[in-house]
Subunit: 391 residues, 2 copies
């Protein structure tokens, strides 16, 4: 089958707020083959810019729009999708946004192939089974420790076995306030639930500032400290990881937009957990490579996802068969376009675990009325020629 | 002064060829302050996608279009420009293309400030003087060893003291052919000229394949081997660098789109030379940080540039005052929009050296007729609203 058409759907809430919630818009990718087969994927990326990377004019040999590599490419096997990934990277490595656009296309192709063969993606990836993953309720810190406490209580009451708090005021004020938030989270969760803390790169590369919350994290039995530093600050990660009491505590990787960046965090950053967003790293093909490398090096693989059930499914497939990597990010505060994208939402079961559907492809049915409701029109023209026009 | 307006000019040749020549198009940035001061910069990036990163709708807190951070920002000192760089990175770190767009804006602001104060940028950067740099004629390998030989002869006749050959067939066929190209280049240059070889990331992360050209490079007394691997393949760089005879031979860094990526190549990649494109890394502010780090760690800093005199000047300013970093990339095969952008081209002198003009800002006067001749119209609309329309 050849790739005949790639459609992008830019979904956005009616009002986008200036908060750390990436679910307020979404870029859906619909791939259609020349025999009518199709599949859906999603880029975790700036929608308009990612569409521009699809349709822009060529600058030179290594700065081509993705459409030049993708349209007409023959896809019959998983290996073909991986070959397309390599082709796009070779043809577009000077086009910075390309990895984000590629991600949604790659995911849609895996979905398409799963439907074609009647198999879930994790089977096409070579796994015998999909292990249940323990969902952690992923949410923002409250504005005050009291609000963080109340959110934690809410997560416990909702039946989660773990919760992660991130962003908001954490790291931006005093160490004392950070510690109050950590303590409040632990108190609200009670003794049994696992706690993760996400600093959202707030400390840049300031190892000393980050190290001041370590004893509070230990006392609260935090499973990990996520992104204390900018995603490429390898030396800062390595230095903090070498601090006594910080062994295997650090988590990072969501910013990785190719497998090399994830390998570098593993090889040189001293991580305990590598967190990959399939919607950024180049899709399922690239994420699976990182999952294999994590398995080989004894690092725990965790999905990063903050938007739709489609993105959640795509983010779990690459490590579905890794028994030892058992945590799963589950966003609990999604905005409407993300919440309503699929007809059925993937949810934790009564034990707080998520099991991927044993259904073809990604196992998600898109609710076209949500595209109708939240779809936004984009037009891009060059020298009077319309390169892109769609909603 | 506040930033009042940022104009982007998308220049492109009439016909873009599918070759490794990034000078066929250009994205010029013209920054205008509220007191009428102005400056020019250039992004080494896909023009249309970089414009989209400027004007797209906000996705969330860390995925904002650059205009939200830039317009109205107060710039009176060099430190203000660095603060703006940090603000853009904080506000847009999930917008992958942002670093490339930022680069041209940052460069234009340095140019503006230089004109305002009547000082060349290198003085604003704290250097007492600009040392002359030895230009190497940067060009593609010929299709055959004979053509490479002829290009080398041409560089020698043109008075260059060094030449670099890259891309083209190199690395894509047999080791024997690679060696023939290296030998031909050395033969054409004669004994005295310095030779650099650029593999253009052709070997991905294949250390064994790369190591097969090492003895030929040694025999030809190559100054460096550039980008044998993808720009993030740190482990492959480290492994090749540890091969006997490869000490301080490796050069890389042009793909770095923030200072961390360059630091990582220095800290973990075993490089001898770090090559920075100010049009990609976030501009002069970011490049200067890398120059300082190179100086501190004893690595040679080299500019990467392949387009206009404006880009060449911007690429040299950050290391103008570093005496020990004395090589300078000089593109010799530029296409028309790049060649004709400035009224006066910066050229090597009779000794094959380049000295930055002791003139305010970047010392370049833009030829507006070139913008008129090669400017291309771009229109971007969202929900019927025109976000961008200009040529």
């Amino acid at each position: 089958m050849k790739i005949e058409k790639v459609e992008f759907h830019y979904l956005a809430d009616d009002h986008i707020r200036d908060i750390g919630d990436g679910s307020q818009d979404a870029l859906l990718v619909h791939v259609i083959m020349d025999d009518g087969s199709d599949g859906w994927g999603e880029c975790e990326a700036a929608p308009l810019v990612s569409i521009a990377a699809w349709c822009c004019p060529m600058s030179h040999l290594a700065c081509k729009p993705l459409k030049m590599s993708v349209i007409g490419f023959e896809i019959n096997t998983p290996a073909d999708i991986c070959m397309l990934t390599e082709k796009v990277r070779r043809n577009s490595f000077d086009l910075l946004q390309a990895d984000h656009t590629l991600s949604g296309i790659d995911i849609a192709l895996w979905d398409m192939l799963g439907h074609k063969y009647g198999e879930p993606v994790w089977k096409l990836l070579g796994y015998d089974r999909a292990y249940p993953k323990t969902a952690y309720a992923s949410q923002l810190f409250g504005d005050t420790p009291q609000m963080t406490y109340e959110k934690a209580v809410q997560s416990r009451k909702a039946g989660f076995r773990a919760a992660k708090f991130g962003w908001g005021p954490f790291g931006t004020r005093t160490v004392r306030e950070d510690i109050a938030h950590i303590d409040a989270a632990r108190e609200g969760l009670g003794d049994d639930l696992a706690l993760m803390v996400d600093a959202g790169t707030v400390w840049g590369n300031d190892v000393k500032r980050a190290s001041q919350v370590l004893s509070a994290l230990r006392k609260a039995r935090a499973v990990w400290l996520e992104e204390p530093f900018a995603s490429g600050a390898l030396k800062a990660y390595a230095e903090l990881a070498a601090t006594p009491g910080c062994e295997r505590l650090l988590a990072a990787g969501e910013g990785a937009h190719n497998p090399d960046m994830a390998y570098n965090l593993i090889d040189f950053g001293g991580l305990g957990f590598i967190q990959i967003d399939t919607g950024r790293i180049g899709g399922i093909s690239s994420a699976k490579k990182v999952a294999e490398y994590a398995e080989k090096t004894g690092i725990t693989y965790v999905n990063h996802t903050f938007t739709t059930s489609l993105a959640l499914s795509a983010s779990i497939q690459p490590f579905a068969g890794l028994r030892s990597s058992s945590w799963c990010e589950f966003p609990v505060e999604s905005a409407a376009p993300s919440r309503r994208l699929t007809k059925v939402r993937i949810m934790p079961d009564a034990d707080g675990e998520i099991l991927l559907p044993d259904m073809p492809g990604l196992g998600c049915e898109i609710d076209l009325s949500t595209i109708e409701r939240f779809g936004r029109e984009v037009t891009i023209q060059y020298e009077g020629e319309t390169l892109w026009k769609a909603r």
